[in-house]
């Protein structure tokens, strides 16, 4: 009897294993799709064993593919094919008409362009916008991916959510949830974010058109995601193809590859190879957390010393104090007596509904409470502070940093360093002279916090508590590095490939979180720097493995109060007790029984920003509005705000293009409102109008401008200000100007007191990139001469050459002189305006903030209204370029060679000479140069006893974190 020969494709993805068996006619005889929960080899052998039963007589050509399959294939000596290549084969065979293939997997996203030059693209080192991302977001909402899908289909609106990486998206989604946005809308927004990420990240300038084939698990299981893709790419049903076998499509292609190029063998042989595959190799391991049980017991005993005494809610009488910490993922609540004893505590995930959780708890408290016990005061802190306070009549709202400091000092009066790792964030404060000296928060890309371990535990099929316990006695904890969580995913993948056990990985993750905190957030060089008395807190430190990792990293013991996770709430309660209100407004037992609220969304009409507002209405007419960037939307008048130079600068730059040339224009020149133009607009508008050109600028930036140019962005990791430039070019092309003018400049203006005066590479040469990536730009309609504004003669020659095609009427030399004068006027007026603001602020006793960034940070789509936020806190705002001339620096610890950045140093030095000023530095994500400048600015400020505050900004327009920092800054300035 002749044995049939089939082909078997095994696709080992990051989360699933797929197998497909085909015959020589390419009929699928068997297919299987299964989650592997990191048990890669076991799952593969299980599936092969099943196939052995199904096809006892057959012989096979076998091949492995997939992101997690490479190592397995190599160690087992089974053929391997790159997964995109496999998909490519299957597409060519089954869908020869397809133009583009989009495949989303567990941790990767791929795009294959088939027509017009075959090109295959995979997502880079970032796993944003993939299946794992969707899972993570579903977890955040406390539902499954399928439920997320069902919710999304009922959405009414979509919110902008940062799509680049899960961590950013989380920080966009969390406030939406906390502020009562509808879960349906959030679900749809998540899918939209995935689409945006795929389109911008992978298309990289190529247009997605023609017939598009969608592959991979998420795209076949999630209807809402499909819809989002079809809608965004504007496809009709003929051009959007969702194959039935999409989840196993790659395995199918892999089987085809096997058919062409692999020798025949048997399943038994393959089983044998897999079972004997040797693993291990590249993974680095560290020391075990505990040498023995005894050492662990001792550790537990030591930390028990910091427990809080309890009192009984049912028997206690007199006054008590309520503290609430409405955190990003969890809600914490405590009730304490006058003596600071704990009457009631609550700590749980808020599942996106913090208000509901707190109301439930208050009802419970009121039910159990001794009738002679009264809540004399209350305070709330955390992300949901405003909302909770408005809803429940809480007496005080305090910034988290203050709450944590209060609580930590209760346990350790001499505390000089506090480190708090919560579900979403790491917060560290240094305490000097009993006040908060500096605050370090985790920046957008390092949030490897509690929720990360949690989602990992779930991915591996464990409860978080159980998972972290596993790590305690791991023999060889894996060293997973200290980088952002998204990268950590792939480190874990690699460790698993190398055969690390769940125990080792658990311990490794605990270590990574600590490394992130110490080296990325605190960036400590030595333990001595942190201080002697360290208090750690936050839910994540309840995890003994994390706590132990921290002590090991530091090489010393720290204090972890037993109520580690409740410290924010405890601090709030202490604050309420200290500030004891004469009459508490806290919601009463009667009121809470009748408590309800409604949510609706609206668009703010207060100004042109048109913020998307969420209006929550409470009984009795109380309203809470969120989503507003300034106080206008919240119903407050603008009068309360302090003056800010950012508006002045912005308006002044916009006004430049109001100028008209004398007589009939010889041509129309378009100037993009981007990058260096935010400073040089006066120069170029003056020059061109003098020469007789009509000048048009691109429209003001907003999200749509970004989307308009998104398809021409070649590098996903460039800064947001540069990305916006693409949209401005598109806008000018739409305006049909005769040509767009954008000079390339290696050098900026030499303003003295520096080592050199470069532009950053992006500002200097971005026109080159634009021309290469926007098909509509040519040498004729996009004029980009090289020039150095420090050499007037050279400018003259460069312009003469660049504009030679145009018969302009004005005299070029005179126009250049006028342009230099116009630029000087702008600089002078700006300095005067700054002085006016400073004087006005001083006259009314306001503090002054130098909001230091780059000229283009006045773009409201870039700064997200941070200057308004500062002004609304009652502080006047001036900018770095307006005060730089007043500061003086000598030789610095860095090479001071960029004009924009030299201003930062001088502005910082100036601030150190002004008692009522502080500096806040704006940093665009992806700005490599700021890795150099931030440390130096910090040094200049801190040497003179000033505070250093840094705000990292991106396309995310959530100001939550910025608000915490700024309010802490206010608290520190007052304290």
């Amino acid at each position: 009897m002749s044995q049939p020969v089939y082909s078997l494709g095994i696709d080992v993805g990051s989360t699933t294993v797929k197998t497909v068996v085909i015959d020589t006619e390419h009929n699928i005889l068997s297919q299987c799709y299964q989650r592997h929960f990191s048990r890669v080899r076991e799952t593969v052998t299980e599936q092969i064993a099943a196939l052995q039963k199904q096809f006892p007589d057959a012989r096979f050509r076998i091949c492995i593919t997939g992101s997690a399959g490479l190592g397995l294939a190599q160690s087992a000596g089974i053929a391997f094919v790159q997964e995109v290549h496999a998909a490519f084969l299957a597409v060519k065979a089954d869908y020869p008409k397809a133009d583009v293939v989009i495949e989303l997997g567990g941790e990767d996203a791929k795009m294959i362009f088939l027509t017009g030059g075959v090109e295959q693209r995979m997502n880079g080192s970032c796993a944003g916008g993939t299946g794992a991302f969707i899972d993570q977001m579903a977890t955040l909402l406390g539902i499954t991916a399928d439920e997320l899908d069902r919710l999304s289909l009922k959405a009414e609106k979509r919110y902008p959510i940062a799509s680049r990486c899960g961590v950013f998206a989380k920080s966009d989604i969390q406030p939406l949830l906390n502020q009562g946005a509808k879960r349906e809308d959030v679900a749809a927004s998540i899918f939209q974010a995935v689409v945006d990420q795929t389109v911008s990240g992978l298309a990289q300038g190529r247009t997605i058109e023609g017939t598009v084939l969608f592959l991979g698990g998420p795209l076949s299981f999630l209807k809402g995601l499909r819809q989002a893709f079809v809608r965004t790419l504007k496809l009709d049903s003929d051009h959007a193809v969702f194959p039935e076998n999409a989840p196993v499509f790659v395995a199918y292609g892999c089987a085809m590859f096997a058919e062409q190029s692999v020798e025949v063998s048997t399943l038994a042989e393959a089983m044998d190879k897999l079972e004997h595959a040797k693993t291990g190799g590249n993974t680095v391991t560290g020391k075990p957390l505990f040498a023995s049980r005894a050492e662990y017991e001792q550790f537990i005993e030591r930390h028990k010393a910091h427990d809080l005494p309890f009192a009984d809610l049912r028997t206690e009488t007199g006054g008590c104090w309520l503290g609430i910490d409405a955190g990003s993922t969890t809600t914490k609540l405590v009730l304490i007596t006058d003596r600071g004893e704990l009457l009631y505590q609550y700590y749980a995930a808020n599942r996106g509904q913090p208000l509901d959780r707190i109301v439930e708890q208050l009802k419970k408290i009121f039910a159990e409470m001794n009738p002679d016990l009264h809540i004399r005061g209350s305070a709330v802190t955390g992300y949901g502070e405003d909302f909770i306070r408005a809803g429940l009549g809480i007496d005080y709202g305090i910034v988290e940093t203050v709450a944590h400091f209060k609580a930590a000092s209760y346990f350790c009066p001499d505390v000089d360093f506090i480190m708090d790792i919560g579900g979403q964030d790491i917060k560290c404060f240094k305490i000097r002279n009993h006040s908060i000296d500096s605050i370090m928060l985790n920046e957008a890309c390092s949030s490897g916090c509690g929720s990360f371990i949690q989602s990992f535990a779930q991915a591996m099929g464990y409860e978080i508590a159980e998972f972290s316990q596993l790590g305690l006695f791991a023999e060889h904890p894996v060293d997973l590095g200290s980088r952002c969580t998204v990268f950590m995913n792939s480190s874990v993948k690699q460790a698993q490939k190398d055969g690390a056990s769940v125990e080792d990985i658990s311990a490794g993750l605990s270590g990574s979180i600590i490394k992130n905190a110490v080296y990325k957030v605190i960036r400590a060089k030595s333990v001595e720097e942190l201080g002697k008395n360290i208090v750690v807190q936050g839910g994540t430190f309840l995890n003994d493995a994390v706590l132990r990792s921290f002590e090991m990293e530091l090489g010393r013991d720290v204090i972890r109060p037993a109520i580690s996770g409740l410290m924010g709430a405890f601090g709030a309660a202490l604050y309420a007790k200290e500030h004891a209100p004469a009459q508490s407004t806290t919601i009463t037992k009667e009121q809470i029984e009748a408590f309800t609220y409604t949510t609706r969304s609206a668009k703010c009409g207060g100004c042109t920003a048109h913020c998307a507002l969420n209006i929550v209405t409470f009984p009795g007419g109380g309203r809470f509005i969120s989503g507003n960037r300034c106080e206008r939307g919240a119903g407050k008048s603008k009068a309360a705000s302090a003056p800010s130079i950012y508006e002045w600068k912005y308006e002044r730059i916009l006004r430049c293009t109001d100028k008209k040339p004398a007589g009939v224009p010889c041509a129309t020149v378009g100037l993009p409102l981007a990058l260096a133009y935010y400073e040089q607009m006066p120069f170029w508008t003056e020059l061109f109008t003098r020469l007789g050109f009509a000048v048009k600028r691109s429209r003001e930036s907003d999200r749509d401008v970004y989307y308009q140019g998104q398809h021409t962005i070649p590098s996903d990791t460039v800064c947001y200000p540069a990305k916006l430039a693409h949209g401005h070019i598109e806008d000018l092309l739409e305006q049909r100007v005769d040509f767009i003018f954008w000079p390339c400049m290696s050098y900026n203006v030499d303003e003295g007191e520096n080592d050199n005066h470069f532009n950053c590479p992006v500002v200097a040469y971005y026109p080159e990139l634009l021309r290469a990536n926007n098909l509509r730009l040519t040498k004729r309609n996009f004029i980009t001469p090289y020039m150095d504004l420090n050499h007037k003669k050279g400018v003259y020659r460069a312009l003469k050459e660049a504009l030679k095609e145009y018969r302009y009427t004005g005299d070029l030399r005179e126009a250049i002189e006028a342009a230099y004068a116009a630029q000087a006027d702008y600089r002078r007026e700006m300095a005067e305006e700054a002085q006016r603001i400073i004087n006005e602020a001083r006259a009314s006793g306001r503090k002054i903030i130098v909001l230091a960034g780059r000229p283009y940070h006045i773009d409201k789509e870039i700064n997200h209204g941070i200057h308004k936020l500062i002004a609304s806190l009652g502080m006047a705002v001036v900018s770095e370029d307006a005060v730089a001339a007043l500061g003086h620096v000598g030789k610095l610890g860095v090479l001071n060679q960029w004009t924009y950045h030299a201003r930062l140093y001088r502005a910082a030095q100036y601030v150190t000479t002004q008692p009522d000023m502080q500096l806040v530095q704006l940093v665009s994500f992806g700005c490599g140069i700021d890795a150099v400048t931030t440390d130096e600015v910090r040094t200049i400020l801190e040497q003179s006893g000033k505070l250093y505050t840094q705000l990292k900004i991106d396309e995310i327009n959530n100001l939550g974190a910025a608000k915490i920092r700024l309010r802490s800054l206010v608290a520190a300035m007052e304290g």
Binding site: S67, L70, Q82, V84, H85, G117, Q120, G124, Q204, N282, S446, G481, S482, R483, C484, F487, M488, S490, S491, K493, Q494, K497, Y519, K520, R523, K525, S526, P714, S715, T717, V718, C744, S746, F758, N759, C760, P761, V762, A764, Y765, Y766, E768, A772, N773, Y786, M787, H791, K793, G890, K891, G893, L895, Q897, G926, G928, I929, A931, V932, T939, Q943
Partner: protein, 415 residues
């Protein structure tokens, strides 16, 4: 921020101190330090590649700083802490390019890193733009040393190029590397005398010697490596990319170091022309450039005359290639050179190109990722992939991307 307290490399230290040098190109740097030996500088290349290097880097520099800085500084810190060197008798040497890229700041980041723990360790800047000149210093770059460096680069380039063209095809594994080592030793010695000046003879002998290695036909998939200079060359930074390509059955093609030297030399003259100013440095650099170009031409002629191996790209030709896509005014980082190298590789049949860069490298947004589209338009078969390197990116991901590129590369052959 004061820099007054930083240690200076005094003339006396030449006798007592070991100068640690980061190893960017294993072939070249060994030659470079042997140039310094007769002048009394005792240098040692750092070849450490343990995890501790990355950890020290993460601990001591801002984590968003580019990967090369993190590795180089990590390597220095690891060495100083390891006990292998006496910090009182050790100096550090680091290159400084002086352009508008972050790389010019490495030296300051390094000084910052050692300031607290090793204030006594002097840091020496190796540069040719006159940065950090100090008459008190025992480190003096003379024109002679500079000239010898040039020769070392030329020899290093030739050795790297011919061994890359032999290694994938050698019949007996390891033979190429054995010969490479032999020549390295021989050339190191050549700097003790005037032997290094006999370039035509030495070139010929190198070419003949390598040609004697028994090899199979040269028919493997050629993969060009371009990119940020440290990541492109250093196995520590690029996770042994060359070895990986060899194991995948490819022939790595790596542009020569001299191209970068010439790119730096010519940029002053280019700026002078572009921005319409002329001064002494423009003229001197112009002359210097012509001199180096003549040296490159000589090497190219020698390789062509021998007729077996591919010669390096003619630099004037590279400049012309660049002009088609990007201005030579783009001079930060590796600037227009990356674009030109990609075009030149595609043009000479190496259509598969890996462009390496540190994660978040600013110039490469423009000159590498930003230019891929136009290169592909010009060479429809060009198969270019960009790979980012940083301490968190794992090898699996990087290798996957290379494999994807190779799957593409092999496709035409299969059809």
């Amino acid at each position: 921020m004061a820099t007054s307290k930083q240690a200076i490399f005094t003339p006396e230290m030449k006798k007592t101190h070991t100068i640690l040098v980061p190893d960017m190109l294993p072939v070249h740097f060994q030659l470079l330090i042997s140039v310094l030996k007769p002048y009394g500088y005792h240098c040692e290349l750092l070849r450490t590649a343990s995890r501790a290097v990355v950890d020290e880097g993460l601990k001591n520099v801002h984590n968003d700083t580019c990967y090369p800085a993190l590795l180089v500084i990590g390597q220095f810190m690891e060495a100083l802490k390891s006990g292998r060197y006496d910090p009182d008798k050790t100096a550090l040497l680091i290159t400084q390019t002086g352009g508008g890229c972050r790389a010019s700041n490495y030296i300051h980041l390094l000084r910052k890193a050692i300031r607290e723990q090793f204030p006594q360790v002097p840091v020496i800047s190796l540069n040719f733009s006159g940065l950090e000149k100090d008459p008190r210093s025992g480190w003096q770059m003379t024109p002679t040393i500079f000239l010898k460096f040039l020769y070392a680069v030329l020899y290093g380039d030739l050795l790297m190029s011919v061994s890359n063209q032999c290694r994938p095809y050698e019949l007996k594994k390891g033979e190429t590397d054995k010969l490479l080592q032999k020549w390295q030793r021989r050339l190191e010695k050549s700097f003790d005398s005037r032997d290094f000046l006999h370039t035509s003879r030495n070139y010929r002998r190198i070419l003949e010697d390598f040609d004697k290695i028994p090899r199979t036909a040269r028919n493997k998939v050629r993969v060009g490596i371009v990119g940020e200079i440290y990541v492109k060359y250093s196995p520590l930074a690029n996770n042994h990319l060359e070895d990986f390509l060899l194991s995948e059955g490819c022939e790595p093609v790596i542009p020569s170091l001299l191209e970068f030297v010439m790119y730096c030399a010519v940029s002053t003259a280019v700026d002078g022309r572009l921005y319409h100013y002329l001064d002494k440095s423009v003229i001197y650099n112009g002359i210097g450039y012509k001199l180096i170009y003549a040296m490159q031409k000589q090497q190219i002629r020698a390789v062509k005359k021998h007729g077996v191996f591919d010669p390096p790209h003619d630099f004037e030709h590279l400049r012309k290639r660049a002009d088609q896509y990007i201005s030579q005014g783009v001079s930060m980082g590796e600037g227009w050179l990356i674009t030109a190298e990609m075009a030149a590789l595609a043009e000479t049949g190496t259509e598969n190109i890996i462009c390496t860069q540190p994660f978040g490298c600013l110039p490469n947004h423009i000159v590498a990722k930003g230019m891929m589209r136009v290169i592909k338009n010009a060479y429809p078969n060009a198969n270019i992939t960009a790979i980012d390197y940083d301490p968190g990116a794992t090898r699996v991901n990087q290798e996957n991307r290379v494999k994807l590129m190779l799957a593409n590369a092999r496709k035409p052959a299969e059809k």
